[in-house]
């Protein structure tokens, strides 16, 4: 067992301060800089005539809250997947979860163009379940399919396949542009109404993750150990997948595909706070939120005055990190 390097309590104590700083920074900087007094005024004495106030309340605030939440969801699903499959490369973005959602959303936009936002969230969830289910089912049928490399390859292949199916459907029915709006990361047009809609799902997903965290720690020692300790591994896995599907599904529904958060953050968390998933899961949520929110802030500066897609910024950090992981851990079994 690795020694815990840092006390997670420190993180939780500092979290409110960090969150406040992140929100403040994210609201202040952008195409139009806004000073602190305007922000406090917008929050406490909202003035419908002031453009600054409108920007803050209807654009900047939802955006930073969305980024914090989505970062948290993605990081938690990444942590769950990595623990459950004992695979250090597992992450929702390379397991067909987001591509599955895109397929279903495409079909939905073609055949039922009048679906409500809530309906779209449901379909997005169903699609994520479909994608993840397909990848895991095929991996389970293959000998050694759960090994990091195999699973990564299968996930990539099936993800490409699902992506191509949706592209073909979109081309045929000429809805490509609508679709590409839907799934290309769109943090900048976060809809406050959507955030409210997803809260119940988020609560269920996160609660499941936290309840499961102890079992995941045991599961991460291996199926045999877990079974001999009296754990019903089948149930734990099924519930974990459910939680991953909910969390990733709503992230895709909110902001489209954002890669690497689910891969990167759990590793950093493990590095900082040790291997106990009871701590890893909540800490991943916090760190994931910060990571994505700061990437989002950075995305406004890299190519200013234009915004850079958030996926480019996360890849900027994610790819070198991924390479580092492979360099240090190789093709081996478990992190």
């Amino acid at each position: 067992m690795q020694k815990r390097r840092l006390n997670p309590v420190v993180l939780f104590a500092a979290a409110p301060l960090f969150i406040a700083v992140t929100i403040l920074a994210s609201v202040m900087y952008g195409a139009k800089s806004i000073d602190v007094s305007t922000i406090t005024a917008a929050i406490f004495h909202f003035d419908t005539d002031s453009i600054d106030h409108q920007i803050i309340v209807s654009s900047r605030l939802p955006r930073v809250i969305g980024a914090l939440l989505i970062g948290a969801f993605l990081a938690v699903s990444g942590a769950l997947m990595q623990g459950m499959t004992r695979n250090y490369l597992a992450s929702p973005s390379i397991m067909g979860v987001s591509d599955g959602s895109v397929v279903v959303i495409t079909l939905c936009m073609v055949f039922m163009p009048n679906t409500s936002s809530l309906g779209l969230i449901f379909y997005s969830l169903a699609g994520s379940a479909l994608g993840a289910g397909l990848v895991f089912f095929i991996a389970w049928l293959l000998p050694g399919g759960m090994s990091p490399v195999r699973l990564a390859i299968l996930g990539t292949i099936i993800g490409t396949f699902l992506g191509c199916v949706s592209q073909a459907v979109a081309t045929y029915y000429q809805v490509s542009q609508t679709i590409s709006f839907w799934y290309n990361a769109r943090l900048h047009q976060m809809d406050p109404g959507m955030i409210k809609l997803i809260i119940p799902f988020a609560v269920v997903g996160l609660a499941l993750a936290i309840i499961l965290s102890k079992s995941i720690t045991i599961l991460s020692m291996g199926d045999d150990v877990a079974t001999s300790l009296g754990q019903r591994t089948g149930w734990v896995k099924a519930l974990s997948i459910l939680s991953v599907v909910i969390l990733t599904g709503i992230s895709v529904a909110l902001a489209g595909k954002i890669a690497f958060v689910g891969l990167l953050v759990p590793h950093i968390t493990r590095f900082l706070f040790g291997v106990d998933y009871r701590w890893i899961i909540p800490c991943s949520a916090l760190l994931g939120g910060f990571f994505l929110a700061w990437c989002d802030i950075l995305s406004r500066f890299i190519n200013s005055p234009f915004e850079t897609p958030i996926g480019v910024v996360t890849a900027l950090f994610g790819v070198p990190f991924f390479l580092y992981l492979i360099k240090t851990k190789g093709g081996g079994k478990h992190a």
Partner: protein, 340 residues
Amino acid sequence: MPEPQRGRLWAVIFISSIIIAAAVYISLTNGAFDISVMDVVKTLLRLDPVHEHDLVIFDFRLPRIVIALLLGLGLGIAGAVIQGIARNPLADPGMLGINAGAGTAMVLFMLLFHGSITGTGWLSIMAMPLFGLVGGLTAVILILWFAQERGQLDSQRLILVGIAIGSGFSAITLYLSLKMNPSDFEMATVWLTGSIYNANWRYISAMIPWLVLLIPLLWAKSRVLDVMQLQEASSMGLGVDVHQERKILLLGSVGLVSACVAVSGSIGFVGLIAPHIARRLVGLHHKRVIPISGLVGMAMVVVGDLIGKTVFAPAELPVGIVISIIGVPYFIFLLLKNRM
């Protein structure tokens, strides 16, 4: 190793040639403008030149078919070689990030010389594969550098690094393509999805030198590839300098892939699936696998392009998408059947 009879090899060559010929025939005669067989033959043999027929066949259909054939050939062979090097039947040039690297370089090229790419300059067209090659090589050098440990090249790690490098390059491509002006951007996106709409003879002549140069080189190395399938120590014992040869083979296949990507954008899965089919048909010897997977690749791309053109007409699907949609289920079926 089971040695399939010579007759079988010829049968395979014969049947795949017939499939290719049939697809070529249908692509030549059918389309928005139907041309009868006689007219096609007449036009090709320059017997009775009709201007419209000349235009449709020589400027639109024929270049597209030829490009499809060349692409299939190049990608199929490169795939067979790369799977041989990686000793992994799941390896694929696309998965190794080579396509993405070449793609980034091409987008950079379009960004730097914007406007002139649609143009007529021979120089810019001949420079395209070169730029693609530089990008593909950069990807490969990065991959090799990261995948190597103490001089050893682990094939598992090769693939993982490839996936990582590939997504890195895709991010750079996205970033660069956003800096383009709208018309170039349109062109870049069409090109990136793997389409061959805008085929013309210049692209073909830019591609051919690479194919003519590299395919014989790779084929000549097929014995080395056979030996590489053994454990590394055994191959060393048989007098093969594995590291040296691996680098040469990798360079050669990267050259092929880059030339193809430069012309068509990234067409995935040909390099993954064609070698599988080839191995099932003619056994494991690379001397046979390499040409046969070239043939199978040709058939795949020509048929895929035909389907993309006709099934959704008048809308066209990029051939890359058609191939993935048909190829992936078949590939997974293969995986399950062989329990690989």
